[in-house]
Structures are given as structure tokens and as C-alpha cells.
Symmetry: C2
């Protein structure tokens, strides 16, 4: 039977089991010393990112399975590395939790974390633990990208075509379903899969960086209507998005919601971790409609005029309000998940 830990060392021993194939990834010293040691690959720059994942703010411990919390905290941090065109190399885990969570909950959490770590070839290199009345998680991911090849948010030109990967709104729909549930969600529900187990688009990001097809890129974490303005702001441009082109949810998912709902989900739903990127028109023919089964869809155009517009057809074009997630905006939902 799983037991609560007696001290910090025994907690570290539990965590240490998931270290994965460190050496292959450049980690030459992992958990157990004051810091980890990582040997960078020559000709590469390091991609550095960190991400909060907090009980009550980003997940609910009475609704989210611990394995999903473990998977998702790492997957969403890796998504930031994917968004630069980088490859994840290792991560640090900062974990604060109540003592009663150090037995079964922790084991399940570590199982999900370990699965994501193996799936994305991103071993655990180190971290910090402490006791706390709530579960607090912070993940740092270290990645690598060929020198000079990182894809930034800036660099867009007017006339570039805006693309997204995958489908938009699915994670938000999963969240709605989860909120209606009375207890911890089943891991196997296909409708919840994208909310519980998002897939950072590492392979796509690296492919786009290697092929030099892209002028700018970011990942969609807060929703298209909040993230697209950030991308445009970095390049001092605007955009027109064509509603009809958005890869919103397929009808099979939508028995109980309208087309207009599906559009709202695609525009404002968070947590999709798809990639949003811009491609010069002359390179657009080199973007396939599917890459390894993942749809890549042109959804609009970059404009010199710095407004962010949505065209709903019939000449009906209007400003796209940013209704995605912002933890500090007064009108923001209190809980992002």
C-alpha cells in the first residue's frame, strides 16, 4: 500500500524513479545534489521556459485525475519549447503538496509525469519540494534549437498567411464536460482527452524551424482571440481571420452545441496547445494540409493595419475581442480551467 512520506529524502526517492534516460538527453547529473548539470550540444542555443500549474487556478483536485495533472504540467511547458521550434531536453520539477497527497495521489501524479517525460524525451533533471496546504507545481523546461533557427513571435510581414495546427476549441469543450462531472474524470473519455492530456506539437515546431518556412510562431494556450493579438503586437501588424476557415470541432463532437458555439470555442477556448504560425505567400504551397496526421489550416491574413479583425462572410468583418484567458484582467474568469 502506498504510504505518506516521512521526510523530504523519502519524497525525493519517489520522485527520482522517474528520471528517465537522462544521459542520452545531455543531463550528466540529476536529482540529489545542489543543482543539476546539463551538457549542451554544440551549435545549439538553449530554450528556457517555466510554467505555473496551481490547484484551484489551473486544475481542480476533485475533478482532474492526478495522472492528468502530472502529464499536463509538463506537456504545457514543453509546448513553449515547441513554439520556438526547439526540442525539449530536460525539466526541473518544483512541487509543494500536503502530506496526505504524498502517497497514492503522488504515485499517480508521477506516473502521468513520467509518461509525458518519456513521450517527449524530456527527462527529469532536478527540482525542489516542500510541504504546503495546496498542490503547487512549477515546471522549468530546458530545450535546444539550432543556433539562429528559433522561431520568435516577431518577424511577420503584411501579406503573410496565418496557420494553425490541429482543431481549436476541443480542450475548452472538455473543460465544460469536466465541470459538469460530479467526480474525478475518467482518463479514457475521448471528449476529455485533449483537456486532460494535451499533446505539445514538438515535431511540427521542429519541422517548421528546420525547413525555414515560418516568419513567426507561438503556441495557443490562452485562446486564439487572446494569443493572436500578442503575435501581431510583437511584429506591429494586424490580422484578418476568416471564421469559416477555422478548424473548429467536427459535428460528431457537437451533438448538443450549435455552430455558433463551436465558433466561440475555436476563437476563445484555451488550453489547446496548438501552434499558431505565419508563412510568406511564396512558401505557402510547401505547407501540407496534414503533417503526420495533424491538420495544418490557413485561417487568415496578416495586415499592415494593426487591428485584429474577424470576417464572418457576407462582408461582415468586425473587431475580434480578446476573450481568452488573462489572470489579471478584471473581467477574467476566476478559474482558468
Amino acid at each position: 500500500m502506498a504510504r505518506a512520506v516521512q521526510n523530504e529524502n523519502s519524497l525525493l526517492r519517489k520522485i527520482e524513479r522517474i528520471r528517465g534516460r537522462q544521459l542520452a538527453s545531455g543531463v550528466i547529473l540529476g536529482i540529489g545534489d545542489d543543482a543539476a548539470l546539463f551538457r549542451p550540444t554544440s551549435g545549439r542555443e538553449m530554450v528556457l521556459t517555466c510554467d505555473w500549474f496551481l490547484e484551484g487556478t489551473h486544475f481542480l483536485s476533485d475533478k482532474h485525475p492526478p495522472a492528468s495533472i502530472g502529464w499536463k504540467c509538463l506537456a504545457r511547458a514543453i509546448s513553449d519549447v515547441a513554439a520556438m521550434g526547439g526540442a525539449p531536453k530536460c525539466f526541473l520539477l518544483s512541487l509543494a503538496l500536503p502530506n496526505f497527497r504524498t502517497s497514492r495521489w503522488l504515485d499517480e501524479f508521477l506516473r502521468g509525469l513520467d509518461r509525458a517525460s518519456r513521450r517527449f524525451h524530456c527527462p527529469l533533471a532536478g527540482g525542489d519540494t516542500t510541504e504546503r496546504n495546496e498542490i503547487l507545481i512549477n515546471i522549468t523546461v530546458v530545450g535546444e534549437v539550432r543556433t539562429g533557427r528559433a522561431l520568435l513571435r516577431s518577424g511577420i510581414r503584411a501579406g503573410d498567411i496565418i496557420y494553425v495546427s490541429g482543431r481549436l476549441g476541443e480542450a475548452e469543450l472538455g473543460l465544460r464536460r469536466l465541470r459538469q462531472a460530479k467526480k474525478i474524470a475518467s482518463i479514457k473519455s475521448p471528449l476529455l482527452r485533449k483537456h486532460l492530456y494535451p499533446e505539445p506539437r514538438v515535431r511540427l515546431g521542429r519541422w517548421l524551424a528546420e525547413k525555414r518556412l515560418v516568419t513567426a510562431m507561438m503556441d495557443l494556450s490562452d485562446g486564439l482571440s487572446s494569443d493572436l493579438p500578442r503575435l501581431c503586437e510583437a511584429s506591429r501588424v494586424g490580422a484578418v481571420v476568416h471564421a469559416a476557415k477555422l478548424p473548429s470541432l467536427p459535428k460528431t463532437h457537437l451533438a448538443d452545441i450549435s455552430d455558433s458555439d463551436a465558433l466561440q470555442l475555436a476563437l476563445h477556448g484555451g488550453d489547446d496547445y496548438e501552434l499558431l504560425f505565419t508563412v510568406p505567400p511564396r512558401k505557402a504551397r510547401r505547407i501540407p494540409p496534414l503533417l503526420d496526421g495533424l491538420p495544418l489550416t490557413a485561417i487568415g491574413l496578416i495586415t499592415r493595419d494593426r487591428r485584429i479583425l474577424i470576417s464572418e462572410g457576407n462582408g461582415n468583418t468586425h473587431a475580434l475581442p480578446a476573450h481568452g484567458w488573462d489572470p489579471f484582467r478584471k473581467a477574467a474568469k476566476k478559474i482558468s480551467i
Copy 2:
């Protein structure tokens, strides 16, 4: 007048001001994109560490000046890099805080953080922010060390001499004084200085690594009686510490506490961020009693026998109980500070 922020972007603009001299330190892309980019120096390994600094666990917002919280959250993470013999290169800040803290409190916090960042040549490279009912801080520091020269906890041999830098117990005494205070502590109190503004021993750590004088090293964050067993455990050795040799507090600090209290503070007091290291006897003459004004003191010997003993003179040698800080031990104090 300082104002609370209206959204996450305006918070980021406040934080961005403290980025420091990024380029000189290898940071080629800082705040404002999905991740930061860092160009490693050739022939160096990366030192990676992260550290919690949480309201109520590591600091009290009604006692600790916000500038001290800013300084200390970075200084203690840098101390882990110093403990490997590395040089800090940049850091990531994860900050969660209530909206009412985003005006004056945040400005003061950032002032302290900025000072530490400049003092230790460790610019801000990126981070993550969110709103939360308590102040949560997590710091990741990226450092560098010449390939193969990092000083680990393992590598000690029986007969090695145990050294510590500085004085022990001063930070814990400062904490006692702070607890007695009725309000936010004055930044200028010399008795509180080491508790509020600890100085990671970066220069000493790098000097020891460059000169190859040391078999193992770590920093003292939880107290000698808790940290020395960890150092010994990593090398499967034991130790005898000589009480009389411990660099405890000078009499001037101790008007109201006894010699025995001073010994307890030196053995079990946390937060000193001094370096603990072991030196082979044949190299001991190359360790000066002072390095740039910082005392280096031999306090005991490494033994083959794996116990941790303290010798109080007159043949009175007994086991040294680990009474430092451990957040998960049942008998641990609820608050480490």
C-alpha cells in the same frame, strides 16, 4: 503613485524593466516570447536549479520587507549554483500574487530582485505570472561551470578536512529577532542583514572549483546538522565536528544569549548560505584563513565510520542529531523561517 496592474501585459512590462545586462550574460532573447533563448559558452556545462519561496512557508509578508523577499528568493537559488562551483548566468521568475500586491509591494519586491540580479551578474531571462490569493515565488537559475569542474556532494575520502565559510547561526538569530518584531523589519538593522539579504558565496565557489582544492561541496541552507549528513551520505562517509572550532557568532551579537545557544544556532540554524566543503589534508595549507575577507574555517574531519559525531572536548563525543529544517519530517517546525 503606484497602481495595481490592469492585465498580465502591464505586469510583464513592470517586470521587464529589471532585465539587466542580458546579452553580456548569454541571454539572446528575454521576456515577451514563448520562451527565452540562451547561448551557452563553449567548454561549459550548464548548472540548473530551482527553488520555492512561498508566503507563510519561507517568508511572512507582515514581517519581511518586500525588497528583502526579492533579494533573497534569487540569492538562495544562486547559492545552489555557487555550491557547484558555477557562475550564475540568468534566471527565470515565476510569480503568483494577489492583485493588491501588484502596485507598491511589487515595485519594492522588484527593486530587491533587481539589486540581487545586478550584484550577482544574473539577469532576468523570462518567467510566468498569475493571480493568486497568496504570494508564490519560484526561481530557476541557469549557471555555467567549466566542463568536468563542477563540485559535487560525492567524492569525499576519509581523512578529508571539513571547512565552512563565514559564520554560522547569524541568519537564524536574525529570524528570532524578526519574529519578536511587531511589524515589517527595518532594512538597515545589521542583526537582520544576513537573514534578510544573504550573500551566496559565488566567488568562493568558483575559486575552489578553479583551484581544484575540494573533494565535495554543498551550501548550508537547512543548517549544518541537517546538511552535513547529506554531504556525507553522498560519499558514504561519516564525520566528526569539533564544537570549539565552529565559527559561531561573535560575542558582540550575543549580549542576551549564552555560549550554548550560540552553539545550537551554529549547528542547527538555517538560511546561512555559507559553503560546506571538504579538502584532502595535503591541500589544506592552500586554504587561506580569509578569502576576500570571508573566513574559511576547518571544523572537523571525515571518517570511514558513517556516523555524524560532535566532539565537545574533554572526550565528550556524541551523535549529532539533525535538527535543521525538513518540511516533511513530522516534528518539523510548521514554518521554516
